[in-house]
Symmetry: D2
Subunit: 365 residues, 4 copies
């Protein structure tokens, strides 16, 4: 593959998200849209519209056999991801795939191993990670401007489409977990997770869920996902010892608010009897400084996804949200599901990369 | 006590909340403010100001010995509640006491038993339960306008005063739990509770906490309390099968929003194999009706607290938030603390009224 | 023209608004997009993109000579409207044109007269009039639910594109004036207008302007337009004797709020000495009822514009926002400009339809 | 008068605002509350409550004859201000008076002259000027941080108490005009004013009004006051060439927002033919920088009013909002009323300090 030519891309899946992929591939100069593939070829044709020269097809085999197709963007149901992505990788195509990577961690590991063996890009469409707000937030957290992380709190609730095949945790929490994954500093990782869910409408699985994640630095991250809320909320608070940031995705004029406000205990953290004694003498102080809402560019996140996908192919490097990021999200989801089944006690987070057969020395990661 | 005369009231405690009690007792026609008592008598004098004829005193004994004192309003630290309230009851005074009733459920039970033995009013100052918004919400829930309860979600976060003696759960959650207690229908009660907390600033106890409560009808109630949030949020969502209500206490022009929005599964709730089969055929439907923000009176909640206290004394009946309501809140707090200590698994909610020595046949309850 | 075939449409102008017309014509089943025409044919090609079969052209003549073109949607600069629209009408094409209809009332009258002589549809793309919110509001006002109109107040401010050729009044106020025109009841019309403007940045014309319009029922309508505001506000309040509606176009979850709140004077309106005497005895009463936020469909307004354009062609009737509505807006703009030039005193609103040579008996209006 | 003793203060008027004066005088250490005076002595007694030692009286003469009264705070109806304030001044008392200073500019001038002749403090209770937000805003404007003033826009609307004796202009606009007066730099003054009003409910005078003020630097200030709005808005935008500030008095968590956003024309302001030619070459640039919400102290404005009143008495200096500030507000109100009566054309702002008999060399100003 030469990198000077546009990257030929086929979109697979013309359902809810597929049209967005089609539009953004078409608008990305480094790409050329070659096919739209869906088992329901009429649906694919309707998505393309009557004025498009892009061919619609029901045959994935034909798409994968096309030498002008360098990469595949997959927006089919999660249950099909393993088969579709594996076929694409085996045909030597780079793959961009909707979240979650696969319905199980085990299947996800197989896909990552397959991609790494072939030096192919396997990228997760963790769209929120590419918003200007999250990109800015990542810089603040990883650049140390927030100080030590104290807590994360994510709320993602609205009157959502109740899914038949997955519960609200698997449907919505991948957004929050992938955002966490993309902003946490290298030395802070999830170690245990507790989850509670309920199904008040009799849908057959949880429609409301709360996740609590223990991080390796001792702080907690919490996620509230809910399909039944009459109001729509999408906020994330990242509390730090120096600054606290509130991201409100539904406030287009002030998505990020960086507060120089907080509480400090005037003693160092200690444990045991010395710590207890120190606490008795502790004084708490409050910072009540200004709030700054940084100017952010207006850019569609999916456009940035496509640019990162194209760049990682061209530069033969792992994308920001590579397959291993997808595995880390799957590991959290499986651990959360286990906690929910067990009544909500904390369970350790599964190791995303085990077992040993995963190629840990893969060139792309 | 004749009921035609104003009820003589002494306020005990001139700290954070005491001045509010003083002001509202003084403004209530059915009451007459007789004393303000605080160990720091200068503080009591400063609260009264230089133009007041009300006497300040450091002697609780003198206050309780005054035959013109019919009732005592207690706003001292929680650790002193048992001693102060018990002394007042033993002196034959009716008592209004700040939340929580006592530092332990056991001490609380002793106070309730003492009050019931003497046919004295023991009322909790669960102030929020007397706001016009919660009063309206109670009517909607108990009147059946919301249909079946599906979930409750309460958020109470802001940059709060980090307490030395209690964690955030004991400091803030009594508000949420007492509101739940005052609006839940008679046939829905908490059965188990899970709690997670963290102390990211090294305060010595949890500054951020999440409670998940299993209700007897199978739904979940969740509470998020946080002393460290740079933004202040006080919202409660009560989801029902017919309507969902959002209470936003910080939006004075639209505190309650009643949504005719929701999700319905088109099948009755079933369990077991028949249920699973039914779910496969289930279709989900959405209601997207109007939202109504009911007009609410503007009234200070603490004024209504005083009116209820006076009325329950005069009418010799239990107040809306009687000692038993205080015990139910304590039972939830102790169970939550047990869950937090055990890693967050669900623990059954303690029986508020056990053991057997509590006078269950008390005339006032 | 048969009405069973899709209506062949050419879009003229590929600048700021043209791409929206292209997208919505293409998505409207009753239409078929035949050409995109722009003097800068490369710009037209970029708008269409590399996957489109729609031809781009720089020749308006060629477009108008195409018998498959039944109608033309014009999004060129206002200064060119007279020439482009007149050419299209003379070629027998129906026309949808961006606001304002023409740079002067006189030119606008010529276009309306030309369209009426030929029984062609001449429709203004007053997009806001086709939003679900304005459509609902129109029903409330004209259906009498608001009672007597008491005042209108429209604010449309943000950091906008400072135009070179027109001031903020001609750029933004057509939106507000066309909305007024589309919701006012038949018996209420503008009679005089006062306007103030300022140019604090030295742009050469007003960047901030206030319009006050006297309506025939004695009430006032006010418009505030501003290119320099750091915050974006788009609100309209329509006050009535029975209800008052607030439209907030930037609040997607509650665009319309219908308040059962208001003030009533308890005496009938009288004038002269009797009135003065009555006022002395007047008592004012307040209604403080509920607020209702009606459920509104989510629909792109420009899609509804296209549907109305297609329907008016097919049904051979005037559209909701016909050329005469465009003239009424122009008459207000010219009168406002005259007031601004004269120091802001009220000037009578020009007669939109005079002089006499306008065909008042046109079949389509 | 010695300054070491507390200043003896009598409050005159126990109606809507009087209780606030009583409470704040009592809470100010530098003051001692001596009397509450109202023609309706029972109303005065109710305001004081049954626990106060402060005497209530109906006799202004007795109050003014009391040598322990150094100063009088007047909250009677505007129509009585001239008589009450003049009597107090003639008795040698300093005066704090509610806005407006007097019902007419002429009466106001007499009061200012009387105070200046006697070297007594005459202070207007322009409460908003003492809020932390306006104090901060004043510093930004006068410190040059906003650059050149470009526009002011003030909105003060809600369902307000319809007054019998004054229209909405005289009732509400004094707030906005006094704020303008307290923040405008020394070299920017109002030169002309236009006003429109309407009375849609038949109250006998305007219930909705719009003021447009020409400032001496060529920019406009606009005020919208409205008693009939179902929603409450209190915002002020101050646009500058370097920064723009939005004050939202009803947003307690973010009252001030300072935007580094704006529009610049790239050419200097010129007039005449050279200017027109320059405009043709002008390019407009946009700044889209961060927004900062400065931390502000929480303090009741009326407490700061009392402190300034006490300090100006003690230090024998003019207060921030002295009688002359009151005259400037009256001059604007009278000019606005004249414009409204004349159909809304601009009228020059009256000279606050003319005629010549006003003591321009008064020591306190």
């Amino acid at each position: 593959m030469t990198t000077r030519q546009p990257i030929g891309v086929a979109v697979v899946g013309a359902g809810y998200w597929g049209p967005n992929l089609v539009r953004n591939v078409a608008a990305t100069p480094a790409m050329r849209l070659r096919h739209l593939c869906d088992l329901d070829v009429d649906r694919a044709r309707r998505v393309l519209g009557e004025y498009s020269i892009v061919p619609a097809t029901a045959s994935l085999d034909a798409v994968l056999a096309d030498p002008e197709v360098d990469a595949v963007a997959v927006a089919t149901p999660a249950a099909t991801h393993h088969a579709v992505v594996m076929a694409a990788l085996e045909a030597g195509k780079h793959v961009l795939v909707e979240k979650p990577l696969a319905p199980t961690l085990e299947e996800g590991r197989e896909l990552v191993a397959a991609a790494e063996r072939r030096d192919l890009v396997l990228m997760l469409d963790h769209t929120y990670c590419y918003t200007p707000a999250v990109a800015h937030l990542r810089g603040l957290v990883r650049g140390g401007e927030l100080g030590d992380l104290q807590y994360l709190d994510s709320v993602r609730i609205n009157l959502g489409l109740v899914q038949r095949d997955v519960d609200v945790l698997w449907d919505l929490a991948p957004h929050d977990l992938s955002i966490f994954d993309s902003i946490l500093p290298a030395d802070v990782a999830p170690v245990a997770v507790s989850a509670h869910g309920s199904d008040p409408i009799g849908a057959g699985h949880a429609c409301v869920a709360h996740l609590t994640i223990q991080l390796s630095n001792g702080s907690l991250a919490h996620v509230h996902v809910n399909w039944l809320s009459p109001t729509k909320i999408r906020t994330l608070v990242v509390g730090g010892s120096r600054r606290t940031v509130v991201w409100d995705d539904l406030n287009p004029t002030q998505r990020l608010s960086v507060y120089d406000r907080g509480v400090d205990a005037a003693i160092p953290r200690q444990t045991g009897a010395a710590g207890a004694a120190a606490h008795e003498r502790a004084t708490v102080s409050y910072r009540l400084g200004d709030m700054v809402a940084p100017a952010l560019p207006e850019k569609e996140a999916l456009r940035a996804v496509m640019e990162e996908f194209a760049a990682s192919i061209t530069e033969q490097r792992a994308p920001l949200t590579d397959g291993r990021a997808g595995l880390r999200v799957l590991a959290l989801l499986e651990s959360a599901a286990a906690s929910m089944a067990e009544g909500g006690a904390f369970v350790p987070v599964l190791d995303a990369l085990a077992p040993a057969d995963l190629a840990l020395d893969g060139a792309t990661s």
